[in-house]
């Protein structure tokens, strides 16, 4: 800005009378301007292009091209700068005034005028011009800042998503910042967490919450927290962070390829969908909770929706932007248009592209008012690589037995946690345990398998031990959600139980050896016990037939563990997990 005002300003005088030119030049030079002269309109336009002056003084009646036409052309070239233009004339008529404003003139000065009036006029118009330039500069600066911030935010948010190549996405922001965010992250046990969310409003204001939400979602998923824990934490965070009229509508999904089930929590987004392979709508997930950030705590009577899914199905989430797109006639795109486009997309194996094409056809030349977002998640296939890794991770060194026998005598550390009654329904001990292990031994790939083992052993102790749920419930396809309902019911009862104290005890002992280590895991529960051998036997049978849905947890643990020993009628399990560092 300083540079701009300290430069000598240029003024262009366009007048066919040389005496007029001389008079105006003298006055302008007294005001510090460098003066350029042109004697007709056409010449004036040429000089304007050549010198880009800060001020133009224009006569109206001239040969070759008159002042109005020259003014129009000059205004056409001046682009972003104001380039104030003053008509100077002796025609003191209303029409002259109107015509000069129409031609793009910023002011008009009627002859005769005194030098003082002329100078005052120049000053006032220059003041407006400076102000205009300031606004332009600020706008440019703001635009650059916004672009930079946008780039940083999208780097943080999108680039670190999991399985980007597998998940179909539409993301179109109405302004430079989008209030919509799409996140995907992998759980330690191979489940996939996906979030589609929409902050109130647009622009930077709508993007502020995006970074904390992203961080919380990623960190908690990685640490193994359940979907509902993550929803509750993000809600708490946004409640404290956002002003009262800003909130976050979001749908959270956990897809477990292993359980063939999807868990959904929709807080304020339009229905989510599961499309079957034949493109039928198999499930709707309506909103069941107000958007996040409004209530200090989640409503207590709200539960995740659990549905069973097949490998070839797709789960699709959208924000309201898609439904509310309007065409020139003012009609809404609406749910039915969307569902049809998605069905055709499902058959063509590309929901995102198909919906986008359909949207474009519908709204034709109309510009979009809201951010438009869609995520299309295949119900399987995003964790192929992971399973290969897991198999490598459980490679057992040949020499481990002797080494273990030696280290068995004294673990370098052990850790014990007992949860009772109500805490069994409110505390997920697995992230706590994994945190302890990471704190003591540092992070490591081999902990992924340990996470799976701990989760399965704890869930078995809770479901079949303490809650006495029958795993045969899970056998039918619909049984899984029935099982889940019964489970929530019994968990609820735990809180009020006056019977004997229920508990689950988890004990870890760590034995390092030179190129790996062993973790001894003991889990004891207060239940009646269950016939683990029967479950395992059934599992092997079932696996051959490829039909049974239940009990795979123990089967998986059996494969991952070095030893797995159920005792005391199934109420006590001793497992050991051995790993070997492959990096030398």
């Amino acid at each position: 800005m300083k540079e701009y005002s300290s430069q000598q300003k240029k003024a262009l005088v366009v007048d066919d009378s040389s005496s007029q030119c001389a008079m105006l030049s003298t006055l302008l030079k007294e005001e510090g301007y460098e003066v350029i002269i042109a004697n007709d309109g056409a010449c004036g336009v040429k000089q304007y292009i050549k010198h880009e002056p800060d001020l133009v003084l224009m006569d109206i009646n001239m040969p070759v091209m008159d002042g109005y036409e020259a003014a129009r052309q000059i205004k056409g070239f001046s682009g972003d700068s104001l380039a104030p233009l003053i008509f100077i004339t002796s025609m003191a008529t209303e029409q002259a005034f109107i015509d000069s404003v129409d031609a793009g003139g910023d002011s008009i000065l009627i002859r005769p005028f005194s030098p003082q009036v002329f100078k005052a006029k120049i000053k006032s118009i220059q003041r407006i011009s400076d102000l205009y330039q300031q606004v332009k500069d600020l706008q440019k600066e703001q635009q650059q800042d916004a672009e930079l911030a946008e780039k940083m935010i999208s780097d943080v948010i999108e680039s670190r998503n999991f399985a980007l190549d597998k998940i179909g996405v539409i993301k179109q922001a109405a302004t430079i910042f989008s209030g919509d965010i799409q996140l995907s992250s992998l759980c330690p046990n191979g489940d996939l967490h996906v979030l589609l969310g929409d902050f109130t409003g647009h622009g930077l204001r709508a993007s502020i919450g995006a970074i904390p939400v992203t961080e919380t979602f990623r960190v908690m998923t990685r640490k193994g927290f359940s979907l509902l824990d993550i929803v509750a934490q993000i809600n708490r965070q946004l409640y404290h962070l956002l002003p009262n009229d800003l909130f976050f509508s979001a749908c959270f999904v956990c897809i477990s390829e292993h359980d063939k089930s999807a868990y959904v929590f929709n807080a304020g987004l339009p229905d989510g969908y599961v499309f079957s392979e034949s493109a039928a709508i198999k499930h709707h997930f309506p909103s069941i909770h107000p958007p996040l950030g409004i209530l200090s705590k989640l409503l207590t009577d709200v539960e995740l929706i659990v549905v069973s899914i097949e490998a070839n199905e797709h789960l699709v989430l959208i924000t309201d932007g898609i439904i509310e797109v309007r065409n020139e006639q003012g009609e809404e795109y609406g749910i039915s248009h969307f569902e049809n486009a998605a069905k055709i997309g499902m058959l063509n194996n590309d929901i995102a592209t198909n919906v986008l094409t359909s949207l474009k056809q519908f709204c034709a030349s109309m510009s979009q008012e809201d951010d438009i977002s869609l995520v299309d998640i295949p119900c399987s296939g995003w964790q192929d690589n992971l399973q290969d890794n897991q198999i490598n991770q459980v490679h057992i060194p040949e020499t481990y037995t002797s080494e273990c026998a030696f280290y068995d005598v004294s673990p370098t550390w052990s850790w014990h946690l007992i949860l009772t009654d109500k805490l069994l329904s409110t505390v997920n001990p697995i992230p706590i345990i994994m945190n302890q292990i990471n704190d003591i031994e540092g992070a490591g790939e081999h902990w992924h398998s340990l996470y799976t083992i701990l989760t399965e052993l704890f869930i078995n102790a809770l479901d079949h031990g303490v809650l006495e749920l029958d795993s045969s419930l899970k056998e039918s396809v619909d049984g899984f959600s029935q099982y889940f309902k019964e489970r929530s019911k019994r968990l609820e009862k735990l809180s009020f139980s006056n019977r004997k104290q229920e508990f689950i005890s988890i004990e870890l002992s760590y034995f390092p050896f030179e190129q790996g280590g062993k973790m001894q895991i003991n889990v004891k529960d207060s239940g009646q016990g269950f016939d683990i051998y029967n479950v395992l036997k059934n599992n092997s049978l079932a696996q051959n037939e490829g039909i049974k849905l239940s009990g795979r947890g123990i089967e998986l643990v059996n494969q991952l563990c070095d030893t797995l020993d159920y005792q005391e009628n199934g109420t006590f399990v001793e497992a050991s997990y051995v790993w070997y560092n492959t990096q030398h």
Binding site: G201, D245, S249, P286, L295, D320
Partner: protein, 102 residues
Amino acid sequence: MSVSSNISQEDNKINIVVNERFDFSLHQQFRDAYSQCTTKKFNYALDLSQTEYMDSSALGMILLLKDHVDMYEGTLVILNPSDTVNKILTIAQFHRLMTIER
């Protein structure tokens, strides 16, 4: 005026009506409609029967109204939302937060 309000001190009632589009452009008007009302235990009614369109910033404005009502220990009821508007209120599950009468 797209927002009009009607205060009846005798009945302890205030009725706010929003016409046509209820969006961010009404922010100030909507606030002005109730912010003067600081009597305790007042009954607030937000009549959305004339509202044809509502966006998420309107939901935010309703939340601010709710804060105001709670602060002065009043009651709030949303009256007669049209189908379009009710759809938006339902997706946001606003009936879990306040009374909606159709």
